[in-house]
Every structure is written in structure tokens, then in C-alpha cells.
Symmetry: C3
């Protein structure tokens, strides 16, 4: 069973490490700008880093959900590759947002695009499973026949 | 293995699409009220939409965790049906909160009720597995004997 | 298959119950301090409880991701035990933060430590799987030979 998920597991752990890096960035920013918890407002430089972390945290479960559905129902290797691309786009988003609000836009659009591809792969894979499981229709076999 | 999770996977992807819809609503609200990131405060109309999205994001991993445990350890079809009910209640919550703070209450209570049922199903299913795995006690067989 | 994940599932459901407890604490605090949604600012006593819940929510998907990778690829029993330790540390963190900002520090460091151990266990387990799957190198057998 593990050989069907080991690439997904590896990308998941990498994703966790990235989230840890984002959390550390907020801790450093809190120290640099003297903003102690539970405070969350401050100069725009701080708020951008803070919001970049919050946004990345909100998307993390969505990313994992899509990564695993796409990996299980479509193709593990493709899902893992898209997952790496997403994590790279998230890193660019975080660094961009840290610099300026507008610099977050290009990478966030890119990361959204990757998530939509993962969504499409998940939906197609699950649809294919439904068709072959309930209707007995194997689309792939039809296409290659 | 996939036939034990395909309904859960389908509800998971639907849940992701709902989260995407909520994120888009916040983006539209930011434009409509002229509130640029990283700002998160504004008129109550904006803050209600923003908070509705944040609350839905915080509950999303909890929802997925329960959906999958209930589906794996209790009954996949029932868990998926409850999952659809939860996603519908979340939609009503979001639309209610958008209209007024009080209009969020009925659907949030309903969605909490669905989550408690999923929790009970998960707990019962896992307990049943523990009993039959460690004590050799098959409660279902006892009841039907 | 379920006997490889039943301990992880049990800890997951316990984690959900803990999150539910934290959400209820925020609801009680909102009532006690008269802070109605969508408002999220108020006296420090309220903001500490609110931030304790938000922080716990942000870490919940990270915790689950590590719990399951460590349990699947390293050792289920050890991962579940570390999971219980994490949930206990989170409870202490919440209660500490409720009392004062500084009282959150010791348990948050402890809970981070547990997450790093889970990360190491996940990474080692996945690495071990990669080595034996792709290189045909079984490190455990080498060590015990």
C-alpha cells in the first residue's frame, strides 16, 4: 500500500517544513517590530508577513486534500510533481508578499493555477473510478481500443 | 482499496470547491469595499464575509478528519451523505453571515450537529474496531445473534 | 488495512474533540466579554483566548499530516503516543495562554518539540521506504545483520 502513497507522503512532509519556515518568519518579524502576542496589528511590513503566513495556513489543508485525491485517483507521480510546484509557488508568494503587496500577485495566481490542475486531476480520476465502478465503463480502455 | 474511499474523495473535492467559492467571495468583497491586503478590518458587511471564510477554513480540516474516520471505520455511504449535508449547511452559514450576524446562527448550529453525528459515528466505529481487534468482542454479531 | 491506522484514527478524533473544546472556550469568552462576531478585538484576556484557538487551528492540519506520515511510515504506536503528548501540550498551551502571554511559552516549545520528533520519524520512515523501494537497500536489515 505504501508504494502508492510514498511520493505523496514525501511532498506532505516537505509542505509541513515549509509551513514551519513561514511560522518562524512571523516569530522573527514579531521580534523585529516589537509586536508581542496576542497583538496581530502593526506596520504594513509586519502585517504582510503575518497575512502571508495566515493565507498559507488556510490553503495548506486544501492543498493536502487535493494532492492526495489526485495522487490516489489520477497519478501519484504527477500529483507529487504538481505538489512540489505548488510549494515552490507558495515560497515565492511568501517572499513576494514580504517585499510588497503587489509582488504577491503573480505567485498566488500561479499557485492557484496549480491547485486548479490538481482539482481537475482529482475530479477526472474520481469520475473515471465512478464510471468503471458503477457503470462498468472503462473510458481509458475505450480511448485506446 | 479505492472503492472504500471513492465517496469520501468525491465529497472532499466538493468541499475544496466550496472553500474556493468562499475565498472568491472575500476577493470580490475586498474589491467592492476597497480593502486591500494585508488589511482585514472594514465595514461590518466586509468583516462578516471575511469572518465567514475564516471560520469555514478553520473547520475544514476538522470536517475532513471526521468525514474520513467515519467513512473508514463506520460506513462510507453514510459519512459521505453527512458530508454533503455539512457542505450544504456551510453554504447556508456563509450566505446567512453575509446577510447578517444573526442569520449565521441557525446553519452554524445545524452544521455543528452534523459534525457531532460524524464524531459519534467515528468514535463508535473505532471503538468497535478496538473491541473486536483487542478483546475479540464483535458487538454487531452479539446484537444480531 | 484498518489495523494499520486505528490508533492514528483514535488520536485524530481526540484531536477533533480538543479543537471543539477550544472553539467552545472562544464562544464562552465572547459572551463573558460581550464581543459579538464578526468583532475579533477586545481586552487582552479575550484576545489571548482567541489567539490560542487560532494558533491551535493553524497547527491542527500540520499535526494530523505528521501524525499520519509518522504512523504509516515509521511506527503507528509511537506516532499515536507522540500524538497524545502533543494534544496534552496543546491543552497546557491553551490554558497557559488564557492565564498570561508568557505562560503559553513553555507548552508551545514542548509541543513544537513533539512535532519535530514526529517530523523526524516521518522523514526517516519515508527515507527508509525510498531506499528499500528504489535502491533495494534495507537499512534496518543491514543494522541488525
Amino acid at each position: 500500500m505504501l508504494d502508492q502513497i510514498h511520493l505523496l507522503a514525501a511532498v506532505t512532509v516537505l509542505g509541513v517544513l515549509e509551513q514551519a519556515y513561514f511560522f518562524l518568519q512571523v516569530i522573527y518579524a514579531r521580534r523585529a517590530f516589537g509586536i508581542s502576542p496576542p497583538q496581530i496589528s502593526g506596520p504594513p511590513e509586519f502585517e504582510r508577513i503575518f497575512r502571508a503566513q495566515v493565507n498559507s495556513s488556510e490553503y495548506f489543508p486544501i492543498f493536502l486534500a487535493l494532492l492526495w485525491q489526485a495522487g490516489l485517483f489520477f497519478h501519484q507521480g504527477l500529483a507529487a510533481a504538481l505538489g512540489l510546484l505548488y510549494l515552490y509557488a507558495r515560497y515565492c508568494y511568501f517572499m513576494g508578499y514580504k517585499a510588497s503587496s503587489s509582488a504577491r500577485l503573480a505567485p498566488i495566481y500561479f499557485s492557484s493555477g496549480v491547485l486548479w490542475i490538481l482539482t481537475a486531476a482529482s475530479a477526472l480520476g474520481i469520475l473515471h473510478f465512478f464510471l468503471s465502478h458503477y457503470v462498468g465503463l472503462n473510458v481509458l480502455r475505450l480511448l485506446t481500443a
